[in-house]
Point group: D2
Chain length 261, copies 4
Amino acid sequence: MPRLRVEKITEGDLVLVFLSRDKTWLTKVTSGNLLHTHVGILDIGSLLGKQFGSKLKSTLGEEVWALKPIIHDLILKAERKTQIAYPKDMGLIALKTGLCPGLKVVEAGAGSGAMTMFLANMVRPEGHVYSYDIRPEFLSIVKRNLDKAGLSEYVTLKNADATEGLDVKSADIAIIDVGDPWSLVSPMKDALKGGGRVAALTPTVNQLEKFVVELVRNNFKLIESMEVLVRGIEARPNKTRPEMRMIGHTAYITTARKASP
Amino acid sequence: MPRLRVEKITEGDLVLVFLSRDKTWLTKVTSGNLLHTHVGILDIGSLLGKQFGSKLKSTLGEEVWALKPIIHDLILKAERKTQIAYPKDMGLIALKTGLCPGLKVVEAGAGSGAMTMFLANMVRPEGHVYSYDIRPEFLSIVKRNLDKAGLSEYVTLKNADATEGLDVKSADIAIIDVGDPWSLVSPMKDALKGGGRVAALTPTVNQLEKFVVELVRNNFKLIESMEVLVRGIEARPNKTRPEMRMIGHTAYITTARKASP
Amino acid sequence: MPRLRVEKITEGDLVLVFLSRDKTWLTKVTSGNLLHTHVGILDIGSLLGKQFGSKLKSTLGEEVWALKPIIHDLILKAERKTQIAYPKDMGLIALKTGLCPGLKVVEAGAGSGAMTMFLANMVRPEGHVYSYDIRPEFLSIVKRNLDKAGLSEYVTLKNADATEGLDVKSADIAIIDVGDPWSLVSPMKDALKGGGRVAALTPTVNQLEKFVVELVRNNFKLIESMEVLVRGIEARPNKTRPEMRMIGHTAYITTARKASP
Amino acid sequence: MPRLRVEKITEGDLVLVFLSRDKTWLTKVTSGNLLHTHVGILDIGSLLGKQFGSKLKSTLGEEVWALKPIIHDLILKAERKTQIAYPKDMGLIALKTGLCPGLKVVEAGAGSGAMTMFLANMVRPEGHVYSYDIRPEFLSIVKRNLDKAGLSEYVTLKNADATEGLDVKSADIAIIDVGDPWSLVSPMKDALKGGGRVAALTPTVNQLEKFVVELVRNNFKLIESMEVLVRGIEARPNKTRPEMRMIGHTAYITTARKASP
């Protein structure tokens, strides 16, 4: 993430090797790195000094492209323990919470760190993310994912039970992704500044309902619950149609704003 | 937008006055500002020195809350000439283009500046947005909207026909929101750095199809078209249900990445 | 409904007068019937002896067409006390319950009779619908709607509390559209033959959950819950796109099959 | 299909053997029929004289239920050559075309006969379906599927090119499911009575657009295009949520009504 304006690929850069929409690889560019694939061997090291977007030929003559990874790619390729990721939901959460550079964000339920990576990338370099999880084995994964993405310096990981209170104050945004989100409403309220935004991801509608009830009880305002459906479109000349399969559900999103006492 | 960490409301701050989800006002806090509403008069000036999220009582005894506006609020309250806005689509575009702080973004078709505001807020303070529109009357609106949001310094507006070429180079992201997006593929390709991302918003499926054909012809990779549906959920104890009405369509989103020559 | 094969319009026939997709009138063809509309007066009587689909000119020179009403038209034009109708859901219910000619159907919660009309039209002439409602004022509306549609002979209306048991046995299909559908699972089970199908419409997800729990407890099999979203498409040469507004929710549908004891 | 009111299972009846929502078998009840499954052998013959919905134990002690097959089951279990079926779309087509007992329906593009089965089951015993396909190998499949469902007497299959004209007149409904539906608008118009309804299934939006243009040119009225999305809901006590996967697209549906000349 760090060297935004550099266009030439240098030692240690990550590249997203693109063969097709369904077949990409994320790898690090180092001299001598040979990537073995079903379409032949790719000499990743030969990309050094080239521009992002450059073409590369495999030993079997197949063409691939070395794209610059964006955070979405890093999230999809991240190490993870849980199956479900929410890329489609992250965008709406960003919009509804006012996520932007410079903000202080607190997250409960780091999981494998997909959301953490997204948040950190959006608030850097001035902002910061404080991410809690009670499971140390998950935090290890988050740490590795953040390191790989070059985002560790913008995140503080905490192995603690967030329901017992957070040692973060005056946060702009609170993100909740745990099984009992209602138990975090009060601690998150304490952690947020007045007018701060909270967002929770809840797979079931029962969790959503209980969470909203708790938000109301805690005097949160502008409470909105919603779900996002993204449908792919196959565009081909004179044969354009939606994709036959789509994701029917990941989680509901609920957002709200803290009223001052 | 500028004073991120300040929690106290000061002269000149915008506040989102919240009565209910369907009734909010965006106003500037100045001493003596009296906001006349159907629930009575609100002494906005009395908010000076208070925290965001504070409660205010109208002359008729109604309670409202002075929330800190986020970019989403500013967009919804912005002056506009065109009816259609795409808040739900902005989040997905951010995700699929890798929008983040520090990037250089070029936009063709500023419209009323809703997307421009969103982009500027995400790339600041190091990044920059170059926004083109051939209609000077629209650029005036964009200018006023950016000024009000405190984002003008991060945007350069250009009253020019983007199809004739752009004087921006090495952009990270190109956003296209015009009626003939295909005519911008080649100019945007020149403006983007290798691996740069392009995104277009197309209301009709015919525009989408023609745009994708042109992307293929220009050797763009990882081409994806999709649409976003957001459905509201009414959460009430033991009576939770989706909202009866929803937006069926705004525009299709197509994203792709530039391959180097 | 009765004279299916007759193509000529005769005294007493209903016609759907079509001006545009958004403006249609349902009226009875009688000699001398003059329909006053915002596009002029229509001499409905002049349709006698003409074919369905015929054109008619208003006194102001506007052209309309006299279409043969289908049950969907009659439902949309029916007298009703409740706002919400479920035309989009009826088709799926028909499919999932095996609704077809000759079946015996029992319905709890006649409402304004929209579903009753649909059911009667599908099972006639050999089948029959038994429709319960505890509210006599609703049954009066249902009666008028069935009379107008010519479907009364296929329906028996019962002003009784269905939760106290039904005097129908060996029904093929049971349709439940009341606020507490779970209270009808046991009575409906008694009314159904082995392998019979039940379907319930539930606006809230809480109703759905409680209904399914009760189905499981009563040993129903092949339990499925779902929702239907229908989105309109505006097709115009080179400008085709989904409609901007759509119905986000009416009710969830749950279907299941009775296991014999 | 024939013996609607019979509740006891007799020789030759089809039963839907239900183990779980994801595992069912369609088989014919004959004395001595042993169904070998992964949960053991099922003595299907032992169902003779029992009620539909009865429980059966496999040799391994697993319990299954002998449900009465509805047309939806027969369609899902039908022999087919093409992958895509449209169960979710059939209901809406029935609603929008006024499909009901006694009607004369003409179908172009029988495919594997899924729609043909549905139509025949809805119009019988007085109505009739005329189904065209230019591919004799498909009509053989349709024939076998209709025979198995006991619906053959309500259908006339025609191995002919429908674009060259249909020898059916005064049809109430025309169903089009071919790759070039626009070429059938004129022949179908001739086959329909005034006020008759046409419906076409079109996988791509380009087909839809061309079909609608041709409908307009042929003076059809009340033209509507739409798509149906059905989403499953997993209902469990306190853990209710939409299903994670859903069908994103099968085909668009377009319906219209014939104006008389």
